[in-house]
Symmetry: C3
Subunit: 173 residues, 3 copies
């Protein structure tokens, strides 16, 4: 075989390796985003509020309803606020059915969140809340941070109303 | 180093790259099947019935009980039927504990399904159903479609009876 | 291009391929550990007790409370015992929010466990238990086995007390 052919083979192999590197990087990023969401739950449930705050970018937005919380001070109010303190240590924040797309240092995910809670009266566990979520992420210094979490409760107006109406409008186009 | 040795190294490297491509493809397929199951939940919960139907092959079978539903007309009856319409927009279809095996353009998965529902009387969430599932998939035009879903409710006769009896028979062989 | 340069390129490509192999192996191991946890649920729920026992190493420890169960005889007592037999065939053991780290033939995972149960009185499903878990794994003859499962119920003293207190102590350092 001539050195020329060897070089050609090597160039083609290099392309395949580069493609593998990109595809694997994508799977690894998806897994890191799953881990970010797992940490989010641990930090919320264990009362590690600083760690929870550090999972957001400095200008992170938590869009829970018509008045979104933006930035560290606003987010501190959620995690230190009465609603959260009322369930802390008795709750379990889970996510599932995740669908994740990564584009360089940006990413988004959609999925479900279910928070379980152990009631005080009878010590029984209940599904305390069920939500539909869209998350935006940005990689900051090598770590995925939450830029925005849009969450709507299942069975509320936005879930059964706005969200579905928008999808149907899109589908009708 | 002689050109001969270079060629040998290159051939061995090519084999390793081909093996990596196959293994990565397998992980990507597994992830796509997880995404298919996530979409299944979104479509069911958001009332996107056409999208839900498109996740099945044309001859798809939903084996829920002794009288399986097969094909688009039969599946339309499920997603447009009274039971589903009675929970739509107030439900959350989740899957978990997935175990997936891919073989070319065929695949199967086993796992659990839990549907949460927000009750109308008191707005509280409940686990509305819990199921054991076996899914078969086929890749059609590059997309994974559901060929068959076998599902039995936890605590029903087939779950505690037939399914376990079959496993025990197999184990006894 | 001289044969020398070809050899250099080939050496550098070999390094990239070796790095890809290691990274892919890590993702595959993580997936195998998820499958081990899925099997654990299936075996517990379907009454396949031998299969459940085989998921542990010979000296496996199930640390549920102040008196951990260690070894096959002790673990047999759990899976054959009254508490488990009381829910078998009517329960669904799920795990979620998994965070997994692999180091050669050792690994650990953290995550949540939720067991659903179909009550006998009214056939309704409830979240029967919610737990925080740390698992240690060891690869034995090519299969991941559970070396130790530390589990504490959400809302119990160790969860809301000890576990959080330890994290807070660490954070204060």
């Amino acid at each position: 075989m001539a050195a020329n052919t060897t070089n050609e083979n090597s160039a083609s192999l290099e392309k395949r390796v580069a493609r593998l590197e990109a595809r694997l990087h994508d799977l690894e990023d998806q897994e890191q985003i799953r881990e970010c969401l797992a940490r989010y739950g641990y930090a919320a449930d264990l009362g590690r509020s600083e760690e929870w705050l550090d999972l957001w970018t400095a200008d992170g937005v938590y869009d829970l309803d018509d008045a979104p919380y933006q930035g560290r001070d606003a987010l501190t109010k959620i995690i230190m606020g009465g609603v959260h303190k009322g369930i802390e240590n008795r709750c379990l924040h889970t996510v599932g059915n995740l669908f994740i797309r990564v584009d360089g240092d940006d990413a988004w995910a959609e999925g479900y969140s279910v928070v379980f809670f152990r009631e005080r009266e009878d010590d029984r566990y209940i599904p305390w809340s069920c939500g539909y979520n869209h998350w935006d992420f940005r990689r900051v210094d090598g770590e995925w941070k939450m830029v925005r979490r849009y969450r709507r409760a299942v069975g509320d107006k936005a879930w059964g109303g706005t969200v579905i109406a928008e999808y149907q409008k899109e589908a009708a186009r």
